[in-house]
């Protein structure tokens, strides 16, 4: 695998919706390269015949009845944390140009 470039970092930041300063982009290019180099030690671990693990409880398809629960809070309690509210709705910037 090729080393991470500054362009890779800027592309990753764009995908993750984070804007980086020039300094941050340079810093992350070096640091992330070092970290990825370290984790690549896994290439030498023999995993022939093993399946990947995504969870360890062994639980499958946990479901519950589709009923409304009283969580003890009102709409107003939730809207208190919203940056911009208008007429009881969450207001966001325009999406379509």
């Amino acid at each position: 695998m090729a080393d991470l470039t500054r362009d890779d970092i800027l592309k990753l930041a764009r995908l993750a919706r984070i804007s980086l300063t020039d300094d941050e982009a340079s810093e992350f290019t070096g640091e992330l390269g070092e970290i990825l180099k370290y984790v690549r030690m896994l290439d030498s671990v023999d995993t022939e015949g093993l399946l990947p693990t995504s969870q360890v409880t062994g639980l499958t398809n946990v479901s519950r009845a589709d009923v409304v629960w009283d969580y003890g809070y009102e709409e107003a309690d939730l809207l208190k944390n919203v940056p911009e509210v208008e007429a009881g709705l969450i207001k966001v910037k325009r999406m379509i140009g």
Binding site: A16, I18, F28, M41, L42, L51, V82, K93
Partner: protein
């Protein structure tokens, strides 16, 4: 409150069970305990362990509990006081637990001023047993770190040496317990975040089996690894807390069936089989830490335990697995912080896209960004198989090695951390060096097994932690064994 001889270090707090018993019969007042706790917090501000107190609600709840007690002593009312195992016991929650009406920041700028509209299941369960939350403790922002230096607000100082870190990410919780602010504190452990600060500060830190404690209402970090557990002064206290919070919760579909009780009962160590993990005693271990761990193992042998050496050859790769799986899950979990529904929002953005990226750029600290970027990289098409899937497959190998080991021994032991607490700033410029602090704790999270760190002496005046692990769902036996070791090592 008088000091008692059966607590390992001098403390103003009685064992949790005794405090609760005395409150239930009116011999101690919950209001006094809360004031005592708040006073200790006020006297220890130079350690920066606490983000905020929840004094108003704590005082109200204490008053209510005292009223219920006096009513029940007069034969009035129909309260559950008699069955409250943590009646009137003050505690501190890491600031990634939602506590009703309190700010919950996860020590991050993006959640500054976020007020919890509901309460985490764990806090609900503790309150049901009469416990009282008095404050929220500092952490590495979003629990990303091993020192609390990644907190967006402040670095907590180690109670034994203020120039050193307390460990992380539950560093505020560990320091709070050791500074005697409360009888217990809550932490979260994704790669060692309860055990590591317990080791660095000289506390007991318990990481339960994955799924044993509900995570509803706790700020998510890496969902296949995150667990909740207590930090205390004794193993017995940790058991009482776990007993109050363990079990299936309909609000967290990863929760598993609990055992009947977790109240520790000292185990006769004679004939019990302990495996010393060979890879954990390898080079790189600080000589002072090695000495204390070897002496602890010696004491175990003297107490009659059978000690064997066990090799789990893939454990040295666990950290590499962790630093793929953890950031992958972090990048997914942190995508909800977009500046629209809650949290910091950049008000001058020109459109939605800019609002997302500017809110996240300003709201997230460096480590959160670092992990989001690594996670985004290892999950992206083209790299997914080479990194993420490979890491998940090595995870299987680690799980299998633990399973084989536990066919032959009941417990595995080794150091919790290869060193004692490092100096503030010592590792903060090199993220990889900082990640290496977790090298002996992360494998447990991979396998979802329970583990505990208990104090095992000091070297150069700084605490050393002994880590004991057992098989999945063997929490009660692990606590029983640790409880007897608490006595043996003291």
């Amino acid at each position: 409150m008088a000091d008692t001889s059966d607590t390992p270090t001098s403390s103003q707090w009685l064992p949790i069970a005794e405090i609760a018993a005395k409150v239930r019969i009116g011999e101690l007042k919950a209001v006094d305990l809360v004031e005592q706790s708040l006073q200790t917090i006020a006297d220890s501000t130079e350690y920066d362990a606490i983000i905020a107190t929840t004094s108003e609600r704590a005082r109200e709840r204490a008053k209510l509990i005292d009223e219920l007690v006096s009513n029940s002593l007069e034969g009035e009312g129909d309260s559950d006081i008699a069955s409250m195992s943590l009646c009137g016991v003050p505690f501190i929650a890491k600031d990634n637990f939602l506590v009703f009406g309190a700010e919950t920041t996860a020590a991050s700028n993006i959640l500054k001023r976020f007020t919890a509209p509901y309460q985490s299941t764990v806090i609900e369960l503790l309150e049901k047993q009469g416990a009282i939350c008095v404050a929220k403790a500092n952490l590495d922002a979003f629990a990303h770190g091993s020192s609390t230096e990644n907190s967006d607000f402040m670095t907590t100082k180690n109670p034994h040496d203020r120039t050193r870190v307390p460990g992380g990410s539950s560093g505020g919780s560990a320091a709070a317990v050791v500074l005697d602010m409360v009888p217990f504190a809550l932490g979260t452990d994704t790669g060692g975040s309860i055990r590591l600060p317990a080791s660095f500060c000289g506390a007991v830190g318990y990481k339960p089996t994955y799924g044993l404690v509900s995570r509803s209402g706790v700020v998510a970090m890496a969902s296949s690894l995150d667990v909740i557990g207590p930090l205390t002064r004794t193993v017995a206290d940790a058991g009482y807390v776990l007993d109050a919070i363990a079990g299936v919760d309909p609000l967290d579909s990863t929760t598993i069936t609990r055992q009947e009780n977790y109240i520790p009962k000292a185990l006769d160590l004679r004939g019990r089989k302990f495996g010393v993990i060979k890879e954990y005693m390898a080079e790189g271990l600080d000589p002072g830490v090695r000495l204390q761990i070897e002496s602890a193992i010696e004491k175990l042998a003297v107490a009659g335990a059978e000690i064997v050496e066990v090799s789990l050859p893939t454990l040295p790769a666990a950290l590499a697995v962790y630093y793929i799986i953890c950031p992958a899950e972090v990048s997914s979990n942190l995508s909800r912080y977009d500046g629209q529904r809650f949290g910091y929002s950049h008000s001058n953005a020109k459109d939605l896209e800019a609002s997302y990226s500017q809110s996240r750029s300003i709201g997230f600290g460096k480590e959160a960004k670092r992990r989001i970027m690594i996670g985004t990289y290892v999950l992206s098409s083209g790299y997914y198989d080479a990194y993420y899937k490979k890491a998940q497959t090595v995870r299987t190998k680690i799980i299998n090695e633990f399973a084989v080991a536990f066919e032959n021994v009941e417990f595995l032991i080794g150091p919790t951390v290869p060193s004692v607490a490092f100096k503030i700033g010592e590792n903060s410029t090199d993220p990889l060096q900082m990640y290496l602090t977790d090298i002996l704790t992360v494998a447990v999270n991979m396998a979802g097994i329970p583990a505990i760190s208990i104090p095992a002496g000091t070297t150069d005046g700084m605490p050393v932690g002994l880590q004991i692990m057992s098989a999945q769902c063997n929490d009660k036996l692990l606590l029983d064994a640790a409880c007897s070791m608490d006595g043996v090592l003291a």
